[in-house]
């Protein structure tokens, strides 16, 4: 065996490591393109080249995150002697049985495999970013709808608070909100207690507004929402789930809550703007004349009509959240020291950037490609949703 692989060999071996991901991608694409006429907006995405490229990149990372255990070549925390700052394609000295014989993308300053850490980093980023964005949307939508629809004092107060949060430079806010000292005071838990109630509120109102004329069904749906909602709520916000299914580590909760907190005011402003625009439409007046309640009109008439810009913003915002998480990692805030997430690996790698660039460049390129994919996907979606 050669001591050092050429770049062609490295790419070839990486390609074969990603085999499960390629298979999943091919299956997704062939199924989607076959049935694209029956899939609504998602199907239309496959009419736009930009959208398809973006979706491909995003799904590549999603499948990588899901199948990370099959893709990695080494344990992302294992340190093999003699491979400190090894260049890409270095042969592992005396590999034992079942140990992959190469460090495909080299070793970092603690002699860990850069490739495996990059792959595991995808998992840690993609397990937080979409969820945090979804929570921010729940908060923004639940508050933005009434603010735009009713206006008045409620709107003035909420808009002032939203502008207040937006006027903070994000990094300053992170330095104040994501610290071990803050965790001692319990502020993240209080924030979580407030922010995590919104999804429950949203779905309860959603079903109540639709089915309040049919109490048995309403009670069933709202009951399910409340039971599952408060079960998850007790575990995620207070770490007191009686069954022990839902839980979040304190520093993860801290990061999660801060990211939701930073994102929701922007969502609030977008939703508020769209609602103020849409509430002058005829179908809203028709609903009012029919005697529909305000929440029914907001949630079942206005919201579905606002879905286009909201879906596009959702994609963009996942990208932005990824960047924010990377920033947190870059400043070493709220993550465990050996976490493989991209931000902290870039931070680890930058100290020797001049001489050994690969430990920092690999996660940097990974992060950039994921955000680029999300932006392209959003562009494709915008283009297709405007065609309606």
């Amino acid at each position: 065996m050669e001591d050092l692989l050429s770049w062609g060999q490295i790419l070839g071996r990486m390609g074969s490591q990603f085999l499960p991901v390629w298979v999943a991608l091919v299956v997704t694409y062939s199924l989607s393109i076959t049935f694209k006429r029956r899939l609504g907006l998602y199907g239309k995405l496959f009419d736009s080249v930009v959208g398809m490229i973006g979706f491909g990149i995003v799904m590549f990372w999603v499948f990588t995150a899901l199948l990370a255990n099959m893709v990695i070549t080494h344990d992302p925390l294992a340190q093999l002697s003699g491979l400190k700052n090894a260049v890409p394609g270095t042969l592992v000295p005396n590999p034992g049985d079942g140990i992959y014989p190469y460090y495909l993308l080299g070793g970092d300053h603690l002699a860990r495999d850069v490739f495996s850490r990059m792959v595991m980093g995808a998992r840690s980023v993609l397990s937080i970013a979409p969820a945090a964005t979804a929570f921010a949307f729940m908060v923004g939508v639940t508050l933005g709808l009434p603010a735009g629809y009713f206006g008045g004092k409620f709107d003035t107060v909420l808009s002032f608070i939203a502008n207040l949060v937006l006027a903070f430079p994000v990094i300053l806010l992170f330095y104040l909100l994501v610290t071990p000292e803050i965790r001692v005071t319990g502020i993240p838990v209080y924030l979580a207690a407030v922010l995590f109630i919104f999804p429950i509120l949203f779905f309860s109102i959603l079903f109540n507004a639709r089915y309040f004329t049919n109490p048995p069904r309403r009670n069933l749906y709202v009951g399910i929402v409340l039971v599952i909602g408060f079960w998850a709520y007790s575990g995620l916000a207070f770490n007191m789930d009686p069954l022990g299914v839902w839980s979040m580590e304190p520093n993860l909760l801290n990061v999660f809550v801060s990211v939701v907190f930073v994102n929701s005011p922007t969502v609030f402003r977008i939703v508020r703007g769209i609602v103020m625009d849409l509430k002058a439409r005829d179908y809203v007046a028709a609903g009012q004349t029919r005697g529909e309640g305000p929440w029914y009109i907001m949630l079942w008439e206005i919201l579905p009509n606002a879905r286009g810009p909201l879906i596009v913003d959702f994609c963009l915002r996942i990208g932005y959240t990824t960047i924010l998480l990377g920033t947190l990692g870059f400043f070493g805030l709220g993550v465990s020291p050996d976490s493989p997430d991209w931000g902290s690996t870039i931070d680890d790698g930058r100290k020797l950037l001049n001489l050994v660039p690969h430990p920092a460049v690999v996660p940097a390129l990974a992060l950039m490609s994921l955000v680029l994919g999300l932006n392209l996907l959003a562009d494709g979606l915008r283009e297709e949703s405007l065609k309606d």
């Binding site: 002032f160 994000v170 000292e181 390129l365 950039m368």
Partner: protein, 361 residues
């Protein structure tokens, strides 16, 4: 107009008070004060000693009162300790309890003493801000013309090949945060072992080992093209994409307007239409965007100054937060909040001046 500015100013002061109070509250939380007590006093202090230290140094009592003292709206604290010496917020080495002023806070120009720099906050912030000012200036000089040019070129013929290429570039640049582009630029242009520099050096095209310098520490004393290009490019790249996309959107909208078609039908050349008729109207929206970019530039500055070790405002903020230097962090926040609010005001007022169709009140 006057009413509008007055109302804006009132709202601004309210926002500034709320923001500084939040920062004050978060930095003066009990665990932070305990940490401060242990770093200032001794690490092995007992719980009671820590409590004692906090009260003796004026950090006890209600947070509202302490905020008022820090702001200079309330008289500073005065205490007599067990040895009988009178200590107080406004009592320093140079004045006695009798001559000390009653009020000494941010409003009086007393921003406290930085435990990290070992000098008054105001002095250290001043020189750091000057350093960051140069960085910001360079970034603006690169970013604004480049992004406007890209936006106008891609927006004047929507859907053309130039438009596609430039739009892709803008999307790519918005997808690359500073800590990513910085790392890639350094690896590509400033590393003696990989990227372009060894190639150029072996051809003899550059004198030193690298094309650009990977750190900007030396730029504090002497800004040169060699040590300042990479930090400036790193911040500018992320902003260019965003402003260019806004300019493009506004330009495409203007290009479909009636008066542009009229001008074209009257036989004015395409170049003249773009420069004389479209450009002025298309640049109103980007002006607001550029002004609102300042607060966000602050983020870029923090990341880039950390990455390139340029000892400016952003670097100071990171050091203040990392070393639990409460006064310095508060000072940084005041500056940040001030910058954000002033740029918001300028963008609002400027928008009205640029766009005569908007009537106030």
């Amino acid at each position: 107009m006057l009413m509008f500015v007055v109302r804006r100013l009132g709202l601004m002061i309210l926002t500034a008070l709320a923001l500084t109070f939040i920062v004050f509250f978060l930095t003066n939380l009990r665990p932070n004060l305990e940490k401060l007590a242990r770093t200032e006093g001794s690490v092995r202090m007992s719980e009671e000693a820590v409590d004692q230290w906090i009260i003796q140094n004026g950090h006890g009592g209600s947070v509202f009162v302490r905020y008022g003292e820090w702001m200079g709206l309330m008289p500073g604290w005065v205490l007599t300790d067990e040895k009988g010496t009178v200590r107080g917020r406004c009592i320093t080495a140079t004045n006695t309890p009798e001559t000390a002023p009653r009020y000494c806070g941010v409003l009086q120009g007393d921003w406290g003493f930085s435990t990290f720099f070992k000098k008054p906050v105001l002095d250290s912030l001043g020189e750091k801000l000057a350093a960051t000012g140069w960085l910001m200036l360079a970034v603006m000089l690169v970013m604004v013309p480049a992004s406007l040019l890209i936006g106008v070129l891609s927006g004047m013929r929507e859907g053309s090949r130039t438009d596609r290429a430039l739009s892709t570039f803008s999307i790519a640049s918005t997808a690359t945060p500073e800590y990513v582009s910085g790392v890639i630029l350094v690896a590509l242009l400033a590393s003696p072992v990989v990227g372009l520099s060894p190639l150029l050096a072996s051809w003899g095209w550059i004198e030193g080992k690298t094309l650009f310098l990977g750190t900007a520490t030396s730029a504090i004393d002497d800004i040169t093209f060699w040590n300042f290009t990479l930090p400036v490019m790193t911040i500018a790249l992320y902003g260019i994409g965003y402003i260019a996309r806004m300019t493009r959107a506004s330009m495409t909208e203007v290009m479909t307007a009636q008066y542009i078609r009229t001008a074209r039908l009257k036989g004015v050349s395409f170049g003249a239409v773009v420069v004389k008729h479209a450009l002025r109207n298309a640049l109103i929206a980007p002006f607001t965007v550029i002004m609102l970019q300042f607060p966000w530039l602050l983020n870029g500055v923090v990341i880039v100054e950390t990455l390139f070790n340029y000892k400016g405002f952003g670097w100071t903020l990171v050091q203040a937060a990392g070393n639990n230097d409460i006064n310095l962090l508060l000072g940084c926040s005041v500056v940040a909040v001030f910058v954000v609010l002033v740029t918001q005001l300028i963008s609002d007022v400027g928008y009205v001046f640029l766009n005569p169709r908007i009537r106030l009140s």
